[in-house]
Symmetry: C2
């Protein structure tokens, strides 16, 4: 696979997707104030970010509205409170989980919506549902991506089959999602090659969503983009479930496209991220996340260990290994 550009080149196909509210919302149950979201929207605009993801389109039949902030559901009026008509170059994204949303009720015509892109999150075994959702949302006028989660647990044959389904669907793009933060750069490059082969054949794009369990989220994002992946997920300060994500401040420091500007994000961090962290909202790399990443496990046990401030690392490892 040919390398796409050098350290000094920039690629017009690159899109930076800020997922702070969506993946960060998994840390604080989406309890961001409107002021926080509005200031992040303004900072992203000034920073040249291409897409801002506002949260999930989760079903209120499944999830209790009283337990979550508004960005779990992303009602149109909630987004409109922040973006108005969003008369900007930055596009608005939401995520919808297969089986956890009521998309036929909750996703309206794009012409009437503040949303531009619906990102459909699926496991490999719910691909048919994801394809149905992509068709539905495409027909409403949305850009769509299919984000295959926990890809480090899928077999090569499963991935090939899923990619072929996506190739024949109206989805505009497909995402490599390293939900467990288990993958190394070499594996990301192999997946990127596989995804890009399909994407080039069918005229789609490929994105990357990395997790930082092994402190490789930024490195894996670089590995993906260097090999032709163009939609790059990032969050401010890496805020996201468990060990978090590739941080926008890392990524913008690497990208050489002069449209991107780190300074608005530095100001946002000072004024909004630091106070939130001071209140005890916690995410990011630690030893339990490293261990679940190394062992290719869901981070839930590490999230629990972190909440309990456990430092009995050996026992934690043995529990992971079912050898305690």
């Amino acid at each position: 696979m040919a390398k796409k550009g050098s350290l000094l080149s920039f690629r017009p196909d690159i899109k930076v997707v800020d997922a702070t509210i969506r993946d960060g919302g998994l840390v604080n149950d989406f309890h961001f104030s409107d002021e926080f979201v509005k200031k992040l929207y303004e900072a992203n605009l000034k920073a040249g970010v291409d897409y801002m993801e506002f949260g999930y389109k989760a079903s209120k039949d499944i999830f209790d509205e009283s337990e979550f902030g508004p960005w779990k559901f992303c009602d149109e009026d909630a987004i409109r409170r922040i973006v108005g008509d969003n008369d900007t170059d930055m596009k608005i994204a939401v995520m919808a989980d297969v089986g956890r949303c009521d998309y036929k009720r909750d996703i309206i015509n794009r012409a009437d919506s503040a949303i531009d892109l619906v990102r459909i999150a699926t496991y490999i075994n719910t691909m048919p549902g994801a394809i149905n959702m992509a068709e539905y949302c495409h027909n409403l006028g949305y850009e769509t991506t299919i984000n295959i989660m926990a890809i480090s647990n899928a077999t090569g044959a499963e991935i090939d089959e899923a990619l072929e389904l996506i190739g024949n669907s109206p989805a505009d793009g497909v995402y490599i999602v390293d939900s467990y933060g288990a993958l190394y750069m070499e594996e990301i490059e192999e997946l990127a090659e596989k995804y890009l082969n399909m994407a080039e054949k069918y005229g789609k794009f490929v994105g990357i969503h990395a997790h930082n369990n092994q402190q490789l989220a930024f490195a894996n994002t670089i590995a993906a983009l260097t090999n032709g992946v163009s939609y790059l997920d990032a969050t401010i300060n890496g805020m996201g479930r468990g060990a978090g994500n590739c941080s926008t401040e890392q990524l913008l420091g690497f990208l050489k496209n002069p449209k991107y500007d780190l300074i608005p994000l530095l100001k946002f961090m000072e004024n909004y991220m630091e106070p939130m962290k001071a209140e005890g909202v916690t995410w990011g790399y630690n030893i339990p996340y490293l261990l679940t990443g190394q062992m290719n496990r869901h981070p839930r046990s590490a999230i629990s260990a972190t909440a309990q401030k456990r430092t009995d690392y050996l026992r934690f490892l043995l529990e992971l290994d079912d050898k305690s």
Copy 2:
């Protein structure tokens, strides 16, 4: 350059070098208790670590003994208190800075010393002094490496000239040292190719010492080893100056050689690293380190900002840029 092995292979040439006391000593002025160092020595032995670096051979004429713990100077009797005759397969290393040691006085015959390897730290402009030291230590019977620091600030021509000097010296190995945590994997791979070309010609080995300013220390170490670099520096919990280093627990999770075992290190972390961190000894990635890394600057301003708990990131950036 051919890739050396795959994710499932292991390479017998790989050597893991624990630099916790040496690089970590820059965080706490080498004030480690003998118990801490002894338990780390025992943990490294059980973990299969190949070399343990005990600290610096600094000159007591230059540095005040009352200001530092014993590992700034690594007197023979201090090392002997920990290792006795070191009747093990793990080798003992020290670092000596060109111009900051009195090697003709303080480095004795290897036959009478607990030390196996002298790592000579130099900037590119003090290479002649480094060569003299390598010759001297080699003649005393030591293994030697020349570690060219701050390589991200050297020109290609300077590096070529330095490597040719090292090639013609008796040094056994040469290190890529990313002192500022400024380099990306692509640059590490280019340096590795350059260093390995020299090393293969002259029968030497190449090592990597990475810093974590951009959370790329582990990724850069993987990039180096995947391309043939064999001596891999790591520290427990990444303990080291500023943003710290590639952590031993990350690295051992990646290496597939069954001689390495993470478990003794997990126990050491629980019992010794966690209490030290609880006492306020601080290192590791943060936004000021990211910014000095992105801008290829010495981390001293970020160390100062961290000590002051500064979160005025924009002002910090402007100061770095001489634009405040």
